[in-house]
Amino acid sequence: MKNKGLGEFEELVLLAVCILDGGAYGVSVKREVEKHSGRSILLGAVHITLYRLQDKGLLESELGGNTGKRGDRRKRLFKITDMGMRQLQAAQDVRQRMWQLIPQLNPNMS
């Protein structure tokens, strides 16, 4: 399974894109990640990560949808690709397996 290179922040951004389900663009992703992780993030970091994930083929995007708040500019909406979903799932699986191996959390093991 090729899942090295999915960093912690990248994972958060990917998850946020999934949660937002079609409504993911720079600002909304930033808010989503901030809401869940509790840290404050710069907009640029989100953009850079989104584009990097797109270059890796984990995300795809198209321009569309605007609101008055943005001065009638379009947003770039990001969507997760199948490969992105697979990677995310793989990352989760690895964690899950490792969590299960922690003896402190499973008193009946060992």
Partner: protein, 910 residues
């Protein structure tokens, strides 16, 4: 394009982003930026929104313009060529490059360290959730100068506030209980606890101290409950669960009171003005609190109030002034037999509200017993120095950049001829300058990272760099600084040089005709003015410090060993004293309640004659032997005499006390001697205490202060109720013949310790030396002195680097001139003088400017001290002389090189 015009995003930032970010991204980014800007505008206001807009734009610029650069081949080449040219010119003039970056690095590092320190000092108590609504109630300093503020109040101030000021949501009190001896219930080891307080049950409602174990709501609800910090819990119980365990605290009467641990706090944040190890419930002391007598004058309590949201604190403070006249009279009547009006005697008993976040770093009240206080003066001084050093190094940087770039006029000419646009040239120079600043800044970060530990050791602080590096605001400011300084110092040479006409520069005209000497000279004068001022100030700080330690105290403070906690032995310590007196290591031995410079207790007294004024006197309760040990000088009368039974109520005054009691000075003692007159306690009955003797003034407090009036009372005097609990000492004068070295001293201390253990093993053994106590009273100043020295050296290095660079530049510029002078017969000395005088002139101007500034600063600083070192002229002369010498030495290498150059070499091109 845009419909909504009311949103004005920063124009310059938009322009920059538009210039450097690929058009593909622009629509999306501007949309996102504007959206987030409008959100921030609503949440935090315009300034924050614009500032963060800039930060975001820069971040995007860094993220995407570089993508931009490296994706299209053209730009990639461009950037590479810019780097290459920058690198080449840096290498060609190694000396300049190193000087320039080094100076900047030192400057930024110094400023950064100071910034960290100042930020640390200014953000105390910011971790409490309700911090903006918490106020401490201070009151007029009723024991000393009523115009001053006093950080603690009587217990009933809180009661009165609850009744009369509904603006407070909550009021809580904290009582300082002083040093205590504590043991576990196995009764084995005893520990001394100094940070021991009683607080009320709502204490943790108001202050957000984090609990590790226990419930903040109920932890101090019942009597005999105790909350400890994790550190303290581990000290007693190791890793066992402390909840429910008990600790025994020795009460003032010798009995042990048992407290149950009901909560454990996470170790307290360093940046808290409240520092404690143990808190016990206030209800444990209800018998004291219920007594009426002391309710307004038992000033051991710190009262904190949480105001309701939206309270007008100004109006509330005014309203509070009605409280003391209404509530305090019963106390003054009962204790002092005085009506409120008599007690205040026209002075105002005020209540003040001090915001929580201001407590640590405010001028007033300058002391409180509940934790550390900052020194606003130091913060101001260091902020000023930090800024100055930064300015110095920036000036330096600009100065050297300008000087350096004028050598590149030929390069500019060639590039122009080859078709380079002016814009490209400007970009090149600005780029180089930004690059330099960036390298210098990164260097400074590394330097600070390396130096922070030693600095913390000297300054006794715990500063950290790492948390700031994750703070977007801090990083934003850093980036802005790099770009700002880079643009500023790059723009002058950039625009000036790029305006040259190629023909002239290539013909060689402009290479010698570079203007800007005026500016450079002004900058050098500025730098040296600042450095010389700092040197003079540092000199006086050191001079003052050595002066204070050499002031004649009026007694001898050397070789005096003091053991503490003598009061815990019980009142009769004669036997203990006699065993120690048998030790040949001691020449004198004496007991006292309070020792110089720590004589804090005092009371109100008056002369026994009718209509005498009430005066504040410090009191020192002691015995004959202690006065002998100190060797204070009697100018009239005699010392206590144990043979005279009447001496129990006799007193000895110092000259100052005689003066304030209205009995004149020592010149009139032969006609009207104070000996035999009497003093009475203003708040007590009419018991007259006869004056036995008068001693010459001596410094029983730190020499920072003038000598206050002092009354020395006999240790057995039971009319004066103030026993200065917790500060009784047995002092021993060491015999220098018997105690010759440290191992002798060590064994003497061991002997005393063993003796103390034999008398009562439950008393912690603690000792000190009087001369060290005196030194400690100037610890803060000494620390400041050391740090100041460090920064002064930094400032001088920066100024020196600047001068060195300029001299090198000037030497290069004047090579031909000096060559011609030499050919025409000028000698080496003449050339040296000629060359050096250009710079020494500037230094002299700097000296003239620096002297009055330094005089003013030193004079202001010294007014805080009672004993001031004179502001001698020779210090100024010395500082000036050393500045000139250092400057001459700095340029000597360049001037010698220039003077010894063979004219054939320099002139062969023409």
């Amino acid at each position: 394009m845009r419909k909504s015009k009311e949103l004005k995003t920063p124009f310059l930032a938009n322009w920059l982003a538009g210039r450097f970010i690929d058009r593909v991204y622009l629509e999306e980014f501007f949309g996102d930026l504007e959206e987030i800007y409008s959100d921030r505008l609503q949440e935090r206001g315009k300034f924050y929104a614009s500032f963060m807009y800039w930060v975001d734009v820069f971040h995007l610029l860094f993220g995407f313009s570089s993508l931009n650069f490296f994706k299209t081949q053209n730009n990639n080449l461009m950037i590479r060529s810019m780097f290459k040219i920058a690198w080449r010119s840096a290498i060609r003039q190694k000396q300049f490059t190193i000087l320039n970056v080094l100076g900047l690095t030192i400057g930024i590092a110094t400023c950064l360290i100071i910034g960290l320190y100042v930020h640390h000092e200014m953000t105390y108590d910011t971790f409490h959730d309700k911090r903006d609504r918490i106020y401490r109630v201070n009151q007029s300093s009723i024991w000393h100068d009523w115009d001053d503020q006093f950080a603690s109040t009587g217990p009933n101030v809180a009661i009165a506030l609850k009744e009369d000021a509904p603006e407070f949501e909550q009021i809580t009190r904290m009582l300082q209980l002083g040093e205590k001896t504590v043991r576990k219930n196995d009764k084995q080891e005893v520990y001394k606890e100094t940070e021991y307080y009683a607080v009320e049950e709502n204490f943790f409602d108001m202050f957000s101290f984090a609990f590790v174990q226990g419930d903040p709501k109920t932890a101090l609800k019942d009597p005999m409950q105790m909350v400890v910090t994790q550190k303290t819990a581990e000290r007693y119980f190791g890793f066992d669960d402390p909840i429910g365990k008990t600790l025994e605290v020795k009460h003032w009467d010798g009995s042990w009171r048992i407290f149950t641990i009901s909560g454990v706090l996470a170790d307290l944040p360093v940046k808290s003005h409240l520092q404690f190890d143990m808190l016990v419930s206030m209800k444990s002391f209800h018998e004291n609190l219920d007594r009426d007598d002391w309710k307004w004058i038992w000033t051991g309590f710190s009262t904190y109030g949480l105001v309701k949201e939206g309270t007008d604190v100004q109006a509330l403070t005014e309203k509070l002034q009605k409280i003391p006249p209404k509530w305090a009279p019963p106390t003054t009547e009962r204790i002092f037999n005085q009506t409120y009006e008599e007690f205040t005697a026209g002075r105002e008993w005020k209540l003040y509200l001090q915001p929580l976040e201001k407590i640590y770093l405010s001028e007033e009240p300058n002391e409180h017993g509940f934790g550390p206080t900052g020194n606003p003066q130091f913060v101001k001084i260091f902020s000023a120095i930090g800024l100055l050093v930064l300015i110095l190094s920036c000036i330096n940087f600009m100065n050297l950049s300008t000087a350096r770039s004028s050598n590149r006029s030929k390069e500019v000419g060639v590039r122009k001829v080859l078709g380079s646009a002016r814009q490209t040239l400007v970009r090149q120079f600005v780029f180089e300058s930004v690059l330099f600043v960036a390298v210098g800044t990164i260097g400074a970060f590394i330097l600070v990272y390396l130096l922070l530990d030693p600095f913390n050791a000297i300054a006794e602080k715990q500063l950290e760099l790492a948390p700031y590096l994750q703070d977007p605001l801090f990083l934003g400011i850093t980036v802005l600084f790099v770009l700002g300084l880079g643009l500023l110092s790059g723009s002058y040479p950039a625009f000036y040089l790029s305006s040259f006409r190629p023909i002239e520069t290539l013909k060689g005209k402009a290479s010698t005709g570079f203007k800007g000497k005026g500016i450079r000279n002004t900058l050098v004068i500025c730098q040296f003015t600042i450095s010389i001022t700092l040197v003079i100030c540092t000199f006086f700080v050191q001079k003052q410090l050595s002066y204070t330690s050499s002031v004649n105290l009026g007694f001898s403070k050397d070789n005096i060993l003091q053991i503490h906690h003598i009061d815990q032995l019980g009142f009769d310590t004669e036997a203990f004293k006699n065993t120690l007196a048998a030790n040949p290591a001691f020449t004198h031995i004496g007991k006292s309640f309070g020792v110089p410079p720590l004589v804090w207790s005092g009371d109100k007294y008056k002369a026994s004659e009718p209509e005498s004024p009430v005066v504040d006197l410090k009191n020192l309760r002691t015995e004959k032997d202690y006065l002998d040990l100190l060797g204070v000088e009697f100018i009239a009368g005699r010392n206590f005499d144990p043979q005279h039974a009447n001496d129990k109520y006799g007193v000895i005054l110092n000259e100052e006390a005689v003066k304030v009691l209205g009995w004149g000075t020592k010149e009139n003692f032969h006609t009207d001697s104070p000996i035999g007159k009497s003093v009475i306690i203003a708040s007590g009955g009419e018991q007259e205490m006869e004056v036995l003797g008068v001693v010459k003034n001596f410094n029983f407090n730190s020499v920072r202060e003038t000598i206050k009036p002092l009354i020395i009372i006999n240790q057995h005097n039971d009319w004066v109720w103030d026993y200065a609990i917790g500060s009784s000492y047995l002092s021993m004068k060491l015999n220098p013949k018997a105690v010759r070295n440290t191992s002798d001293l060590q064994s003497v201390i061991e002997d005393v310790k063993a003796e103390m253990k034999r008398s009562d093993p439950s008393i912690p053994f603690e000792y000190s030396f009087m001369d060290q106590e005196f030194e400690n009273s100037f610890r803060a100043e000494q620390r400041m002195g050391t740090v100041l020295n460090l920064f002064t050296i930094m400032a001088f290095i920066i100024a020196g680097l600047g001068l060195f660079g300029l001299a090198a530049f000037s030497a290069e510029q004047r090579l031909k001139e000096l060559g011609i002078r030499k050919v025409l017969g000028a000698g080496i000395t003449q050339l040296l003088v000629l060359f050096s005088s250009e710079f020494t002139k500037l230094i002299f101007i700097a000296i003239l400017l620096a002297s009055p500034i330094a005089y003013f600063l030193v004079d202001t600083w010294l007014t805080d001290f009672a004993y001031r070192t004179p502001i001698d002229v020779w210090v100024f002369v010395l500082a000036a002389f050393s500045a000139v010498v250092i400057a001459l030495m700095t340029i000597s290498y360049q001037s010698l090189k220039a003077a010894y150059q063979n004219p054939v070499e320099t002139l062969k091109d023409e």
